[in-house]
Symmetry: C2
Subunit: 165 residues, 2 copies
Amino acid sequence: MMADGRQQIVGLQFAPDFLGRPFSRESSLTAEAATTTEICAFPRAAIERMIADTPGLEHKLYGQSLKELDEARDWMLTLGRKTAREKVASFLHLIATHIDPEADDGCTFDLPLSRADIADFLGLTIETVSRQMTKLRKDRVILVENNRHVTVPDIERLNEAAGND
Amino acid sequence: MMADGRQQIVGLQFAPDFLGRPFSRESSLTAEAATTTEICAFPRAAIERMIADTPGLEHKLYGQSLKELDEARDWMLTLGRKTAREKVASFLHLIATHIDPEADDGCTFDLPLSRADIADFLGLTIETVSRQMTKLRKDRVILVENNRHVTVPDIERLNEAAGND
DNA sequence: CGAGAGTTTGAGGTGATTCAAGCCTTGTGG
DNA sequence: CCACAAGGCTTGAATCACCTCAAACTCTCG
């Protein structure tokens, strides 16, 4: 967040991701649950002791942090260079591939985020997100029911709309 | 990069940063030297052997990757939520604090990047970068000589222009 | 001196924002 | 069972920031 209230969501976590920062006291980040969530919390000291005692654990955590770094950098391309339409399509593609990993053809899911959250994730306003959603709906790239429930008839068309040839 | 040529620079490395991805064959990233650079390169197998053999090395690398993750997320706020002026000021602040770490008051440095690179780093066009540079110059936030050499009389004013109260 | 790359500047266009109104959906109390 | 309030979402009109296209300028190097 910036002092004047502008806000950027910098990542989404999906089970069973690890959340937190070992070996470091502070962070300018906050985390919020978007859906009902079950969390397994360790005191920092316990985690650090486990890392010291368990061969391979730090390796796993290093691996996840490299994965998150790649995802963050991918998303920087989305934030910096894509149009509003491509951003919204990219977001829908991200959710589609995480929520409904099977069923390559015609997947369906509930959006875990409100329009306001999506806007903060994409660096857009609520209104722009809404407009692009209706456009994608009118272009038959997605179907929407009840504002939150989305069906993607052809994931590849969505991927194209996201700018990923 | 996107298929149509749009490009986003996702990070800058400064000596003695570690560059590369152990335990992984592929990456969609490329790296370019912006200045004359001395690089110490290890075959991937050698690095992985060193990590296995050297206690504490993986810990160090994990630490750097966490640091880079924080930096990437910070930059996502810049890309997604800041104005062109704030973006350019943020970039100048980043360079100022990395190139000339001493001298809190009135530091001076050469930009390691061309306008085109700065634009790709900030998600802007060359022209917009240029215009914002001139505005910052006219507002006496920076002094510019020969397009590349910049003097910051008051780093705190630059920080304010970057949106960091 | 001339060529070329890099940069600046201007004019005009456009996509996203802003501000404002209206519309659903859901939950609450009469 | 029906107001009705409230939050979330959509839609419209006008504005603005940034982009696009084009031209001119500057610096460097042969």
